[in-house]
Symmetry: none
């Protein structure tokens, strides 16, 4: 699949933006950020002055197998040092800054990063500390702000969640997995309790009529039967028909 090929090419080439955590507080959040990154094929983690020191056993534990990211993380004593050598820097921010600066959604920034990378330049994304985010002195180092449009009444991603949204947006652009669609039934879809009610009746009748044997195979048989009918996406009318079929067959058994 084309999407998978280009994805693996990206992974092999070490492409993608550097993720730069500025003065993060908890090792757990650094580890969870590394985990979010690697899920999206990003491996260049840079950390400016981690509060609790480095290396961090908490970070390793929370990375949950994304060791390669934690082991190769680079530590810096200033944001300036962490971004030296990059051509384009983005800063994530949940609150407005009194600065004239372009603001992009995660998707818009992802598109821009891909474009800059295709031109042979390297990008980085700054993330602030858990409590207060980036300071203005960090934000001013960036060319562009990234702001995720979130619930206006509650904007409070944790650090790794913010890293995930940016990483995911970047990763998605190289993926060509099709969005599958389902067809809808013509009438009212059955509710789950209506469906489960049908399953129960069917299975009762199938036990009585000696279909669900041997007993040790019964769970797998039931699973297959349930799955088969589930795939049908029955309407409420369909279920009434199916009830009728089961009752009718059951009554006529052996006659």
């Amino acid at each position: 699949m084309a999407g998978t090929d280009s994805t693996q090419e990206s992974l092999a080439s070490g492409a993608g933006p550097a993720i730069i955590l500025v003065r993060p507080q908890l090792g757990e959040n650094i580890g969870a950020s590394a985990r979010a990154m690697l899920n999206c094929g990003l491996t260049d983690l840079r950390i400016v002055n981690p509060r609790d020191g480095w290396p961090s056993p908490q970070a390793v534990r929370a990375s949950s197998g994304a060791d390669v990211v934690i082991e190769n993380a680079r530590i810096y004593d200033s944001t300036e040092a962490a971004i030296a050598g990059l051509e384009r820097v983005f800063a994530t921010s949940a609150r407005p800054r009194d600065m004239v600066k372009p603001v992009m959604t995660p998707e818009g920034a992802a598109r821009e990063i891909r474009k800059v990378e295709a031109e042979g330049s390297r990008c980085g994304v700054l993330f602030g500390a858990e409590r207060m985010g980036l300071e203005n002195e960090d934000v001013v180092l960036a060319d562009t702000l990234i702001e995720a449009p979130l619930n206006p009444a509650y904007k409070s991603l944790n650090l790794a969640q913010a890293v995930l949204l940016v990483s995911w947006s970047w990763f998605r652009l190289a993926d060509e997995t099709p969005e599958t669609r389902l067809e809808l039934g013509a009438t009212r879809p059955a509710t789950k309790d209506e469906l489960l009610n049908f399953f129960t009746r069917l299975e009762d009748k199938l036990i009585e009529s000696n279909f669900l044997y041997p007993e040790k195979k019964r769970p797998a048989m039931i699973r297959n039967i349930r799955n088969m009918f589930q795939r049908m996406q029955p309407t409420e009318q369909d279920l009434r028909t199916l009830h009728g079929i089961v009752v009718s067959l059951y009554k006529f058994r052996g006659k």
Copy 2:
């Protein structure tokens, strides 16, 4: 803004899929999931048999202010009970199942959920436990699988990260924030006559201070300088600052 209006309408109406955590282990992960949900305007949290009991102080703490979601969470003793009354159920899965079932990306599922909701039906999304995900007995209850296309070499989202990707994909579809905008704060973009006025002053001073020589190169030098400042897209406030810089440097020449 239309996006914000429809977002707030969604929030008010309690729309959006139910997020159903099946046998989650750690309160922290339940809290972080609630936090991810509320960022994306989702509030209907259902939990099937939380391992460490309920209520959970760990969940409240990790929800980081998303209390409304935790307080209104409903607890069930079976997945069947948790989905009763819903018309469409999705199950998230990171691994292939031996079942014939449609699989969607988070974006595809989000679009499907919006469509089903627009037809007046309610949806839910099942998430499995931290270690092993959903059991087949849970998956079979769902109409559709959701699988996030992730790094083929490392697919390991934590529970709240998986909740975030699904919630975010749903939320994004109601948002109309432009991919790029210029944050202006209190100022406004400079008009072209203000910009040309600055160019004229700058060039006058550069001629006086012997920068724009030899004369035959002057037109090209001026073009480059104008183009450079033009790319800055200066605001009216920026231009006043630039005027000040030029005057200040000019006055100090040779002293």
